[in-house]
Amino acid sequence: MSLVFAGLCSHAPGITARAERAPAELREPFFANFNIMRQQLEAAKPDALIVIAAEHFANFFMDNMPAYAMGAAPYYEGPIEDPDWLKIKRRKIPGNANLSFRLIKTIMQDIDLAYSEEWKCDHGIMVPLHFLTPNYDIDIIPVNINCQTAPFTPLKRAWAFGKALRKACDFVDERIAIVATGGISHWPATPNSGKINEAWDRDFLDKFARNDKTALLAYNDEAVYADAGQGGAEIRTFIALAGAVEGRKINIAFYAPIPIYAVGCTIAMVDLDES
């Protein structure tokens, strides 16, 4: 098998844009766990990193909104946001179109994904890369799941996508890492920004850590919106990762609500070697 790393992290733009405004006793362990994740990712020596993201209208609009899309370009660009605002420099990021298309051709036998021969990354991908591949020296392959506008990708299809992605990874010779990135409960980009439903988050993370497919797919959009806000739709990225590592537990390395970052900040990794 060629999946060599699987993990999940938050991507809220406040993590870099407003980094210093969080209390040090929350920020420091959060960033320390990003560092641990980076070390484990590097130790896995991946040839490519697939980022399963929930973008925020960087590439996809309602003129053509795919349930999922995968990048297939030789390079990508980001961030689309004002670099001074996000505090991440705009740059090109290396890709691998040939590998992308090999993965896509396998996945599309089961999952009707769109493919994109150009891609602009927003904070949803740039914040994770800022911490995990700070030298931008690993080929990335961006993936988006529609978490941004209803009708959203159904949860069971997000799971099926993760499973199909895993099958495709196992089918290529390259060493593949997957990082999913999304928020749990949050009310971003509203006056409620900073509101976090910690009890809901911890209950969700418990199901996620146990990789309880039935429990994860039992959520419904209306309840998630009511309990977990607009940002709750991003649980699709968690569920896709769970599908990709079906049957394995997921270690929650860090969780803490950090209101000025507007999300319950999360770092999770999967031990792919455990029996």
């Binding site: 844009a17 407003r18 209803a150 509203t190 006056p191 900073g194 509101k195």
Partner: protein, 106 residues
């Protein structure tokens, strides 16, 4: 009713630095490419973030547009609150304010 095109303009300009240059040079010429009411074109030109929020622009589009138009984080949050006070409740979409903005960090 052209919220779709308000959002499409924001989508396009948020991601395209060449369009940003053109908009800085001649906003009306760029806006003329979109099917907008006068109120919508004015809100976009004047960066009336509060009104755009109340119109129902998806928050993930508006947050980036506010940053591109130069609003610092706290000012952007305040602009939405001011918009609610001035124009009333959010008219469309799912980026409504709940509980009067309770739980917010700013």
């Amino acid at each position: 009713m052209s919220l779709y095109y308000v959002q499409k303009f924001i989508y396009n300009i948020n991601r395209d630095t060449k369009l940003q240059t053109g908009f800085a040079a001649n906003a009306d010429m760029i806006l003329a490419n979109y099917d907008l009411t006068d109120e919508e074109a004015c809100a976009l030109r004047e960066a009336d973030i509060g009104l755009l929020y109340v119109m129902g622009v998806n928050g993930q589009l508006l947050m980036h547009y506010a940053a591109y138009r130069g609003l610092a984080w706290d000012d952007y949050i305040q602009a939405m609150k001011d918009g609610l006070a001035k124009y009333g409740e959010v008219r469309a979409g799912s980026y409504v304010t709940i509980d009067g903005g309770a739980g917010g960090a700013v």
